[in-house]
């Protein structure tokens, strides 16, 4: 009776012990122990927490190292895709180009395009004979095409120039052709002649000579030098009008110097640009300068 009276305070030690070791206390103790042991054994608190956290997972922020890496990675991939798509688009355009003029027109400054040696050969063979001569000496190109190491061609637009690199498998340049601004325009217009006078073409404006003087000098030069200067006279013969003046370019491009022939037709003035061998042009220029000096001196004497 005393033990049952839990609301009253125990009067003696026996009563206290009786309460402490009662059935109720034992059951309570067992329940506590079983809760503790089952947690240790079955991890039900962790499981419940885990289930709850999983249920709210999608509403939580994507923060932390792994998500940051993921973000960097996706940004990097997007940037790369952008860069690659630009590059692939220009290479696709280059591969798709029907003519060399089309390919050159599609070039973007500082971003080159690569095509196979075979593709270049196909495009080159489609050029009109006049334009192909302007690209470089036929013998020179024959030598390049005959080189078994030549596997790819790389086109680059750099500071107003178009450079064509003929590459081996290790990207070593076997040969290169530099196309000046005027010649590039020429190519793009697919026209042999550029409208206007030599004075309009910056490259030639410093060295312009009368046609009569030019032909006098040509007459005095050996045959091989003349061939070095005008490798394809047919081109000049086919152009309507008569040659009024000639201009020599200031720039040397891969062993060649451009010569501009100014034609006067009834309707217009135009310039035909052709490449000539550097060494031949030096001889031509030397003689032209001498003759010009001689002519000027004579004129001065006559005046006096």
């Amino acid at each position: 009776m005393v033990c049952m009276n839990h609301l009253s305070e125990p009067k003696n030690f026996r009563e206290l012990a009786c309460r402490f070791f009662s059935l109720r206390t034992a059951i309570l103790f067992l329940i506590c122990c079983s809760v503790l042991i089952s947690e240790l054994r079955f991890d039900f608190i962790e499981r419940s927490l885990g289930t709850y956290l999983t249920s709210i997972n999608q509403f939580r922020p994507k923060s932390g190292a792994i998500w940051e890496i993921g973000l960097h990675s996706s940004t990097a991939q997007k940037t790369l895709e952008h860069m690659l798509s630009h590059r692939q688009a220009s290479e696709y355009e280059a591969r798709k180009a029907e003519t060399l003029q089309q390919l050159l027109a599609g070039l973007v400054p500082e971003k080159g395009v690569m095509i196979s040696a075979q593709s270049f050969k196909k495009l080159f063979l489609k050029l009109s004979p006049m334009l192909s001569i302007e690209l470089g000496s036929p013998y020179h190109l024959l030598k390049i095409f005959n080189d078994s190491r030549f596997v790819r061609t790389y086109f680059e637009k750099k500071g107003g120039l178009i450079i064509i690199y003929f590459l081996d498998v290790h990207n070593q340049v076997l040969e290169q052709i530099d196309i000046g601004q005027d010649l590039a325009q020429h190519f793009q217009k697919n026209d042999i002649a550029i409208k206007g006078t030599l004075n309009n073409l910056a490259d030639f404006s410093n060295r312009i000579y009368p046609a009569a003087l030019f032909f006098t000098v040509i007459d005095s030069l050996p045959k091989e030098v003349c061939e070095g200067i005008i490798s394809e006279p047919r081109i000049l013969l086919q152009t309507q009008g008569r040659i009024n003046r000639i201009g020599i370019s200031d720039e040397v491009l891969s062993g060649f110097i451009e010569i501009g022939y100014e034609f006067i037709d009834q309707k217009e003035t135009k310039v035909v640009v052709m490449q000539a061998k550097e060494w031949a042009v030096w001889r031509l220029r030397k003689l032209l300068e001498q003759k010009l000096l001689h002519v000027n001196t004579q004129k001065n004497r006559e005046k006096i």
């Binding site: 305070e9 009067k11 206290l16 499981r47 956290l53 709210i56 939580r60 998500w67 990097a76 690659l84």
Partner: protein, 668 residues
């Protein structure tokens, strides 16, 4: 006090304690629940599926032969069944042996750790399970705070609820940091043992399982004994856990570990990789480099790099033995900050490809890349640019006679320049080739007085020297700083008949799918006249054959080669830059702090004594088996033998003769 009152008081105390405990527990529980709900809202989202964490592609850097040099970021994920069972057992034994039993937290281990932390001051016991470590690695910083620990614990609990044990273990093993740039067991297995994770044996597995605790501290390349001790500990744990038998334990402990030497090389010299990364950062956003999964093919030649490192190390050690005691003690002592340093760079002459770079004695001690960033005076090493300029501007040739005499050059608004020869004496009339071979300063001074310093600078620029060059007369004696890489690439222009190739280190960059982003086109620029260039090359050959670098021939280097020594005032820098028709190599030796190089006897160490032997040692090995190839001789060049004093055909009175390269027009 009566017993009854005492019992009542005791009873009251007990029940008070009980209710206080109850209230406290309740309170704590409420606080924990509130904290849990607050914390759970800001917990990071766990990716689903978990293996998404291994999606990031790695950026890989390759040598020119296709060998993979380094992996940046990213991970190489492998399924659990392609990871050695030994490794799985080893990592579980050391990191979390109750992994298969717990649910994210090892409560007993946590209680033990708490006990040690609170009641044994000075001792810290870790109790993180593999799941907790995974949570930490994926989402949290490594700053040890209670908040981080609590959040990490919650994420671990969620991971355990959301994924199977195998998925968790697989994710953990694929992202675990293992040092030397390896992340995940597959990368680590390749980096350390050059094999897949599936092929790791017990000994290798136990060694690798020891790395996650501290990848730097237990790096076997640097601290082998420490790594071996940890391997033993792991094997002991495996034995205690019943994963292995006693005989397996012994066998693994005694097994010889065959490490992949590539990693060792990279570890001892990352100057090249640093240079590659710097080049990449100049072109691409760091996000693309480290997270874009690029494949970068470099010009690096591992074999040449290894030879270069060995030659430089050996050469510097030999020099140290010759050097004066105060200097030796300063760098043999505890601090190696003032140690004798050196740098070596190797460039392929016909392309400009940088094949090897050694930026110092030890990358782990100083990361400063002296091969690229050093700006040290080249001394007479600069003279080839002067002589080329003099030949071109003054119409001189190697047979022209000049007079070695005291020189005083007046400078407007400054005191006159009085250059002196190293030998402190004057030889009188002498042909230019011999003056060059003997590196006579007064002749160089007379030449630069005639050409002007700006013309010499122009020549150096044409050859690719980009450092700031002061337009003063003393430029002829190399008084403006340059780097070994600049010297090697500029001398390559001479080797290449006057054609300059811009030095480059990146051959090709592709994305993870192999689509080309860029590739280097090897273009050459005709910078120098080939005929004059050959005349200078012929004089530079004389430097090696009979001049200030004749030690190279004495050491047994037989292939045709040319070069120039350089020594600066007070012997602060010793240089030798030389080339064969295929390789151009520059060696610099000196102290970071401007100390002089002197032997025990107080004799200054010149380029011929300090740098040329290193060059020879490297080139002998680097060109081993290479056929002898001469430099290309222009058609207009003819050779003739002349009297070294008169530059004329030898007569009966002639004492010494020299063979010189002259133009056919000058050939009499």
């Amino acid at each position: 006090m009566s017993p009854t009152i005492r019992i009542i008081k005791f009873s009251r105390w007990i029940s008070g304690l009980f209710y206080f405990g109850l209230a406290l527990s309740g309170g704590i529980s409420i606080i924990i629940v509130v904290i849990f709900f607050i914390a759970s809202q800001n917990l990071p989202q766990v990716p689903n599926p978990l293996n998404r964490i291994t999606d990031t592609p790695a950026t890989e850097i390759f040598a020119s032969n296709g060998e993979r040099l380094m992996i940046l970021g990213g991970r190489e994920s492998v399924p659990l069944n392609r990871i050695s069972f030994h490794f799985i057992q080893a990592i579980l034994a050391v990191e979390d042996h109750r992994f298969w039993e717990h649910h994210g937290i090892d409560k007993l281990r946590t209680l033990k750790a708490l006990w040690i932390t609170f009641f044994k001051p000075g001792q810290i016991q870790g109790a993180s399970t593999i799941t907790q470590q995974l949570a930490k690695n994926l989402f949290f910083s490594f700053k040890p705070t209670y908040t981080r620990k609590f959040r990490e614990l919650l994420v671990a609990i969620q991971i355990e609820s959301q994924y199977t044990k195998s998925e968790i273990l697989e994710a953990y093993l694929n992202q675990i940091p293992m040092g030397i740039g390896a992340s995940g067991i597959e990368q680590a297995a390749w980096s350390f043992f050059n094999k897949p994770a599936a092929a790791l044996n017990l000994a290798e597995s136990a060694l690798l399982a020891g790395l996650p605790k501290s990848p730097t501290r237990y790096n076997p390349y640097r601290f082998f004994a420490r790594a071996k001790k940890r391997q033993q500990l792991i094997l002991s744990r495996m034995l205690a856990s019943g994963f292995i038998r006693k005989d397996q334990f012994q066998e693994a402990l005694n097994a010889e570990l065959e490490f992949y030497p590539r990693s060792a090389r990279l570890n001892s010299g990352n100057y090249f990789i640093d240079f590659v990364l710097k080049n990449l950062e100049d072109r691409y956003n760091p996000e693309i480099i480290y997270h874009g999964g690029l494949k970068i093919t470099t010009t690096f030649n591992p074999q040449l790099q290894s030879l270069a490192e060995i030659s430089l190390q050996n050469g510097l050690s030999k020099l140290e033995q010759e050097m004066s005691k105060p200097a030796v003690s300063s760098y043999n002592g505890r601090s190696r900050q003032n140690a004798l340093q050196g740098a070596l760079s190797v460039v392929e002459t016909h392309s400009g490809a940088i094949k090897a770079l050694v930026g110092g004695r030890s990358y782990s001690e100083t990361v400063y890349n002296r091969a690229v960033n050093n700006n040290r005076l080249p001394g007479s090493g600069f003279k080839p640019f002067l002589y080329y300029t003099a030949f071109k501007q003054l119409n001189l040739n190697p047979g022209s006679v000049v007079v070695d005499r005291p020189v005083k050059i007046r400078i407007k608004g400054a005191s006159p320049w009085i250059p002196k020869n190293f030998s402190r004496n004057y030889k009188g009339p002498i042909i230019i080739k011999n003056a060059f071979m003997k590196s006579i300063n007064t002749i160089a001074a007379q030449l630069v007085e005639q050409t002007g310093p700006s013309k010499v600078i122009e020549t150096a620029r044409r050859c690719g020297i980009k450092s700031l060059l002061r337009p003063v007369y003393s430029i002829a004696l190399g008084t403006s700083g340059v780097s070994p890489l600049e010297m090697a690439s500029s001398f390559a222009t001479f080797a290449n008949g006057g054609v300059y190739h811009e030095p480059f280190v990146i051959q090709r960059v592709e994305d993870a799918l192999g689509r080309v982003l860029e590739e280097h086109i090897i273009t050459g620029k005709k910078s120098l006249d080939p005929v004059i260039t050959y005349q200078v090359v012929d004089m530079m050959k004389g430097v090696i054959d009979r001049g200030t670098a004749k030690i190279i021939r004495k050491m047994g280097f037989e292939l045709p080669a040319a070069g120039k020594t350089g020594t600066t005032n007070g012997y602060k820098d010793a240089w030798f830059t030389g080339f064969t028709p295929t390789l151009s190599t520059s060696v610099w030796v000196g102290f970071d702090k401007n100390l002089g190089l002197k032997t025990v006897q107080g004799i200054g160490i010149t380029g011929g004594r300090g740098a040329a032997p290193i060059w020879a040692d490297f080139m002998i090995k680097a060109t081993s088996g290479e056929p002898s190839r001469e430099f290309r001789i222009p058609a207009s060049i003819k050779f003739k033998t002349v009297d070294t004093l008169t530059g004329q055909r030898p007569t009966e009175k002639t004492i010494n003769t020299t063979r010189i390269a002259v133009l056919k027009d000058n050939f009499k």
